[in-house]
Amino acid sequence: MNLFFIILLILFSSAILAFISNRIVRGSSGIIAFIGITAASILFFTRLSIGNTYSFTLGGIQMQFGLNSFTYLFAIIVLGLGVLASLYSIQYMKGKERLGYFYFNFVLTILGMVGIIFSQDFITFFIFWEIMTWSSYLIVIYNGYSSSKVGIKYMIFSALGAYAMLTAIVSIKGIYGTFMIKDAIAAGAFNFTDHFYIPILLLIGFAVKAALMPLHVWAPKSYSMSPMSFTAIFSGAMSKMGILGMGLVLTSIYSHASPEVSVYSLILKQVLGWLGGITAVMATIYALIQTDAKKLLAYSSIAQLGYIVVGLSTGTKLGVMAALFLAVVHAIFKGTLFMVAGAVERQAGTTDMTKVSGLIRKMPYTFFAALLSIIALAGVPPLGGFVGKWMLYESLITESNNYFLVIVVFFSSTAAFLYSYRFLFGLFLGQEEKETEHVKEAPLTMVIPMLILALLLIVTGLYPGILFEPIAHGMEYLGYSHVNWDMSVLTNIWGEQTNMSYIFSLIGIVFVVVFIFITLKGYKGTRNVGTKEISTSGEIPLEHENLTYQMDFFKPFERAAAPLYKRSMNKIWNDIGNALEAVFNFTRKIYTGNGQTYALFVIIFLVILLIFKDSLFAN
């Protein structure tokens, strides 16, 4: 039996086992899911190598599994995050209902993603895509009926995307006669030559998963409503499947664009880039007015995906590299952050930032993980997030000449500091409250995945080359030649360099020196006090008084940016939905429930057909 099938089978059987085992031993599903995913990952990384393929026929359609260096990159994200998230999940989900159901879908989602990575033809791609979609839908609605509306929204948009994609896929089959991705690319299916709608439809399909404006409206609530151990994957890995597809399509558009149609690809570049930029801006400004940490992170995910799309849309070497790098790093830090939110949710009962605060002393390790991820998210040196941002800006400025987009992206990434701070402050800083007195650090199996991921951020900051290597290979697979990379030196095409190892050592040294200085100096006279010990005009805050500033956190910004908040995509989609609803209501009324009407219909139809019979049924 083929290794591809074995891996998929391991995942599938562990999904089934997880579903069944919870009825036998309560709570065992998590462990089974973890073991299954780990086993699959071990098998994947040890036995499978790039270039393996396996062809078979199903339903009269030629299909192929394979692994190429581009998808390998995403496999790292999916499986790495999958293992850690499932480990995290064991404790996080402990004691909840319907664990079998949850883990069944959890593993199936990962199965779907692994399948997408394996698939070399559109049909398997689509099959696994849909498996991933519905299994994740089932998790989105896991948290009860209140989330089912969210789930439906998610499903509608996913279906919209998936069906756009399916249309393109069958069109490719109809026109070029192949389902193989490689053949289709070679045949020029993604050119804008005659069938411009094919790449567009595919891009729409991928854009839904990548939560690109204006198809993002499902994302904030779906991300925040599902259990956090899943959202880590949902936002961290699954959104990257959209990026995978977009990368594949876009790069082949750019590299195959013939001169006479390159105008279209230029337009596409601009449109996508701006969509990505606007996504980033809008999601950012919405993120910073959220009061729920989970929703904040959800919006932030959308914003980050916006950057990735901007990077991809450039199509230049550095830009694509930046996008892929950001994709990996985003998976790491957003995975961590959602895990952090989950840990807080589990320990403190809520992630509403107006209710929780001052957890830093109670959950120091969680805070540490959150801190590192937030630094990476904000793109502040020296962690991995900065590397990605650096390359993104450099590519926009130096290669694609998209200067105003730089400003837009930069605006969003500056505004990202606001919500980054909001997140850390809201949950961990501020006054310690009586309500959260009982809170303790999350269990070990939850802390370890977070810390591993957080440390990965340091590694990716110091040695981004570790990621550049697979990325460069992936890009070479996509058709870029001579992708240069260095272990820890970033270079743009003008030759300017940023040396991460220097930065790292400098920051490290100065930090240590100043830290030692400030700690030792007057060590005896330094007293560490609680957060009630503050100077509030001589007033003493009482135990139950909560002075933490949490409501209307960025009100001034909101006021300043009021015009930006006026238009909401949500509203537009709602209007569309209402219009459709009216149409449905109207059509429903065709069926009056009256037999005479139906008889009348028959007669009218008969008469009409008889009148038009000659034109209708001419030989």
Partner: protein, 181 residues
């Protein structure tokens, strides 16, 4: 670090010199005297030339300036602010009211002698003391600092029980964190 006595002296001198010339004042505008502070700070009298400037919070402040009478209700806040200041810290009692109650000596809700509740380094007499006298009071404080005699924080620590007892007499609902320096 520096055990040598002479060096310690030099260090002390430098420290005292800078302490003396950099007085961050927490002006606690408790009474009518607060109106004199702006005059002291602004162009006419310009206390800043002596390095005196306002501090917004007790954490940053060196000098606690009690301007005038002190209602019993306010006392608690003053004590709180005082305790939150970092050593070395100094207290200036401003106006007659802080010395003996002044014109409010028989009021039911003011305290008479500030000294009973927190240690005071310098009193500035008058009702109101003019900015000139305020500045002279500051200069007196600077002299004390230079001589190393301004040991307000130490006094408070050492006589904490006495001060506490006095404070508790006035403040009925005593709910204060411990002073544990």
């Amino acid at each position: 670090m520096i055990n040598d006595k002479d060096s310690q002296k030099i260090v002390d001198y430098i420290q005292n010199f800078s302490r003396k010339h950099s007085l961050f004042v927490m002006a606690y505008g408790t009474g009518c005297g607060a109106i004199e502070i702006p005059a002291t700070m602004t162009s006419r009298y310009d206390a800043e030339r002596f390095g005196i400037r306002g501090a917004a919070t007790p954490r940053q402040a060196d000098v606690l300036l009690i301007t005038g009478y002190l209602a019993t209700k306010t006392l608690k806040r003053v004590i709180r602010v005082y305790e939150q200041m970092q050593e070395p810290k100094y207290v200036i009692g401003f106006g007659s009211c802080t010395i003996n109650g002044g014109m409010y000596y028989d009021s039911y809700n003011t305290i008479n002698a500030l000294e009973q509740y927190i240690p005071v380094d310098v009193y500035i007499n008058g009702c109101m003391p003019r900015p000139e006298s305020v500045i002279s009071g500051f200069i007196k404080l600077q002299e004390l600092i230079q001589q190393g005699k301004a040991d307000n924080g130490k006094r408070y620590r050492e006589n904490l029980e006495w001060y506490r007892a006095n404070q508790k007499k006035i403040i009925k609902n005593w709910k204060m964190p411990d002073y544990n320096w």
